[in-house]
Symmetry: C2
Subunit: 235 residues, 2 copies
């Protein structure tokens, strides 16, 4: 079975949250977007995915019962387990991975809980690419000009055709992701995405072209943009 680990354990401090679920200071994954919490929008995409059989939702440790309550309220049915997250994203994914049944897991899709704009088709296509290649990530083109810098000066302008912004989901064969995390944890490595940990093992990672709309809601102003995108999305 293919499974998804949805990482939503952040304290949301950058978006003004306090991570304790109180009042307006809620962590960003629990804040409402057009009347529903962000994490619920995200989970619905995985409910609609044909390829994902089970979801492991990794939330803040102190919010497990609140998250369970939300799943019930919004009738999210694919979540097999709510997992208490750790202090870092790496630790949270690792805890999610330990909750997955190793005997039946085929592909594991890791996805940011604050990326509600992924489509079920994008999820399914990335899972299929991981089935074919072992590892695959969703990625979007870059519209800005990117400079490599050195010592406060431009070293060169990169050819943006050859660059992509990494999005999620990032999908891997279970054993591969498990090995990548074990290596990272034993060597105390950190990375800005899961793919980088797998790349370090020398494993080729396939690229699936995704829509740039699949933003990560991080800063307070992202909510305003997200409201607009969500309305457009619904049309």
């Amino acid at each position: 079975m293919n499974v998804a680990i949805i990482v939503a354990a952040g304290q949301g401090t950058r978006a003004g949250g306090r991570g304790d679920g109180s009042g307006g200071g809620r962590a960003k994954q629990f804040r409402e977007l057009v009347g529903e919490p962000v994490i619920i929008h995200t989970l619905r995409r995985f409910e609609q995915s044909a390829m994902i059989g089970e979801v492991f939702a990794v939330g803040p440790a102190a919010q497990s019962s609140a998250l369970l309550q939300l799943l019930k309220q919004y009738q999210i049915r694919k979540v097999a387990r709510v997992v208490a997250g750790g202090a870092t994203r790496t630790e949270s994914v690792w805890r999610g991975l330990q909750a997955v049944r190793s005997t039946t897991a085929e592909i594991v899709a890791v996805h940011d809980g604050v990326r509600p704009f992924v489509t079920p088709d994008e999820i399914d296509e990335t899972v299929r690419a991981a089935q074919a290649h072992g590892a695959a990530i969703l990625a979007a083109p870059i519209v800005e000009t990117i400079k490599e810098i050195n010592n406060g000066r431009v070293a060169r302008t990169l050819e943006r055709e050859g660059l992509r912004r990494a999005l999620t989901p990032q999908c891997f064969r279970y054993e591969l992701l498990r090995r990548a995390y074990e290596t990272a944890l034993s060597e105390n490595l950190t990375a800005t995405d899961d793919s980088a940990l797998v790349e370090r093992l020398g494993i080729p990672v396939a690229i699936v072209e995704g829509h740039p709309r699949n933003i990560k809601i991080t800063r307070p102003e992202d909510f305003a943009l997200a409201e607009v995108l969500l309305k457009e999305f619904a049309d």
Copy 2:
């Protein structure tokens, strides 16, 4: 004297405009943001700059009188000339450059008309860096993970600490920018920013760290984000 070329000659088709100034189909630089056209917000930043003496506003050829009217209506005083733009950004900047008096121009700051969130301090700091080094651009850190791709696979994850998103203004000694454009035009080169044309001459370009808020308003959803940023900006 230091001068600015504000490039606002786009037809705005990506933001849903028709470029003819009619109704809701206005080119994006003429669309209103919190009650004022985007281009006016941008020009105000240059009005407030201590280092910029004159501004050359490059607009759509068919909109010169409309643009002049706006300058009068909003009491923009630094614009020395409204210049009719060309078919491409390169051509528009080149036309702006030809309007600049070569005998008195020291630094030329090229800025996108649809970047209203630059601050007067950022403009001044970039002009000063160009005075010291010959060429300087405003640039912002990258928050996402960037992958170099090859043949549909990840070639490597780039170290984002060594990367920057190029913003504007991009500031150059007049002769240097003129030479860069003459070379580009004679060799029929295009580039995604002005700095790349100067870099091609082998000239070092200094980096000035700018705020990520300095976005280019390009897509329809950017207007929603821009409204939020502008309200925050005003506080």
